[in-house]
């Protein structure tokens, strides 16, 4: 086991991934630092989601290496790896036959936590994501889209993972709910300091939530920039993004939790 640079929690080292003859990701090098929110920004098919799935080994690289906490994914126990990483996706994927409580408590339960500790954890998490305690006994079909995604976040946080992977988690929500959840995400992240990899195609969201923004195009990493740098970048793709999103981006970058 080689030791990694102390601050890099996730490392992509010359990672390529292809399906049949289609190159989805090539020569991908990226480091995600402890406690930061790294946004993967790019259009559909740029390889954002693929990169994310390489981290929790839902996919394995064709060549190159992905390391989590200094250990190559190829060598780690996949079940333990995944349980140490929270995973939130756009379609949420709540278990429709489980109550909210069972959805959130599933991984702790599998890991053999005692029942009273699980229910205490569920109550705590519901509060953390801004849901009332009586939500615990409801079923996913009884919740609104925003509530469902809150439960999805709570479920991902259940076993207190150090790393959180979020694949367009707010993409399917209406603008008001999205705004609300983005704000709460920032507040939560200020408190929890997870290492987050956040996928989006929305520049506004990237500027608001990201510590750094990794811009992707056609399976390659174009550049990695802080939000304030992004707006003034001379990179042609970055400036094309800025033009496409138009006015008011400056305020998005500095908006934070307001």
């Amino acid at each position: 086991m080689e030791s990694a640079p102390s601050s890099a929690v996730i490392e992509f080292l010359g990672v390529s991934y292809h399906v049949a003859s289609t190159q989805v990701l090539s020569g991908f090098d990226l480091q995600v630092r402890s406690g930061e929110t790294l946004v993967l920004l790019g259009r559909s098919g740029s390889g954002k989601t693929t990169s994310l799935k390489l981290v929790n080994r839902l996919l394995s690289p064709t060549s190159g290496e992905v390391r989590v906490r200094g250990v190559s994914n190829a060598d780690s126990d996949v079940i333990r790896l995944r349980r140490s990483i929270g995973y939130v996706i756009q379609d949420v994927g709540l278990f429709p036959h489980f109550t909210v409580e069972k959805n959130i408590g599933l991984v702790p339960r599998i890991q053999g936590w005692p029942e009273d500790r699980i229910s205490a954890r569920v109550r705590e998490l519901l509060q953390t994501v801004g849901l009332t305690a009586d939500t615990a006994s409801r079923y996913p079909h009884q919740l609104s889209g925003g509530q469902r995604q809150r439960v999805g976040v709570a479920r991902a946080l259940a076993a207190d993972p150090e790393i959180l992977l979020m694949d367009e988690p707010f993409g399917a929500l209406d603008p008001l709910t999205r705004d609300e959840l983005q704000r709460e995400f920032l507040l939560l992240q200020r408190r929890l300091r997870k290492t987050v990899v956040f996928v989006t195609h929305d520049l506004r969201e990237a500027l608001r939530l990201g510590t750094r923004i990794a811009l992707m195009e056609a399976g390659r990493l174009v550049t990695v920039l802080a939000p304030s740098e992004f707006l003034h970048s001379t990179d042609s793709l970055a400036s094309a993004y800025v033009r496409a999103f138009g006015e008011g981006l400056e305020s998005a970058a500095h908006r934070g939790t307001s």
Binding site: I79, L81, R82, I89, F95, P96, H97
Partner: protein, 211 residues
Amino acid sequence: MSIFRFMLQNRDQILELTLEHLRLVGFSTLFAMLIGIPLGIVIAHRPRFNKPVLAGANIIQTIPSLALFGFLLPVPWLGERSDRLAILALTLYALLPIIRNTFTGIRGVDPAVVEAGLGMGLTESQLLFQVELPLAVSVILSGVRVAVVISVGLATIAAAIGAGGLGEFIFRGLAMVDDRVILAGAIPAAILALTADFGVGWLERRLQVRR
């Protein structure tokens, strides 16, 4: 003499043959579930096998039942007891709906749910028993329901090889050209089929997951 009086007079024999009939259907459905559900699960997870397995079950289904009973007659251990043979034949017929519905039910589970489950670190068997099967159970049961109803009907033909069941009345009635005797077999068989259809259907609705 009315049919009902005839049935009343022969109630002991009707009861006995009904129980025999139930035994044939019960065992064959049980065996078909024990084979068909695991097979359906396997082909849902290993798409390579789904065509050959479903094609095989389909082909069995196209063999005329009387011919299948006949084909199996010379098989050593089976041929000794006609009820064994009947149970095997009925099992083979029940396979298709059960395999197909298990396959469809598991493949029909929302991919986002499967992805979330894998992503949070469920093992394949945890995913199967805690997520996929509970979500597929009503679809699987609707396959079982079809299988049972088919079996109740087919089992009447088992009487042709001496396996007993309500078919005895039907064949006897045909030979005697007596409608009452035919109906004494056909009516209880129809009631059995409807009851099974209703019973499994009720279970299916009970276990249906709202989404």
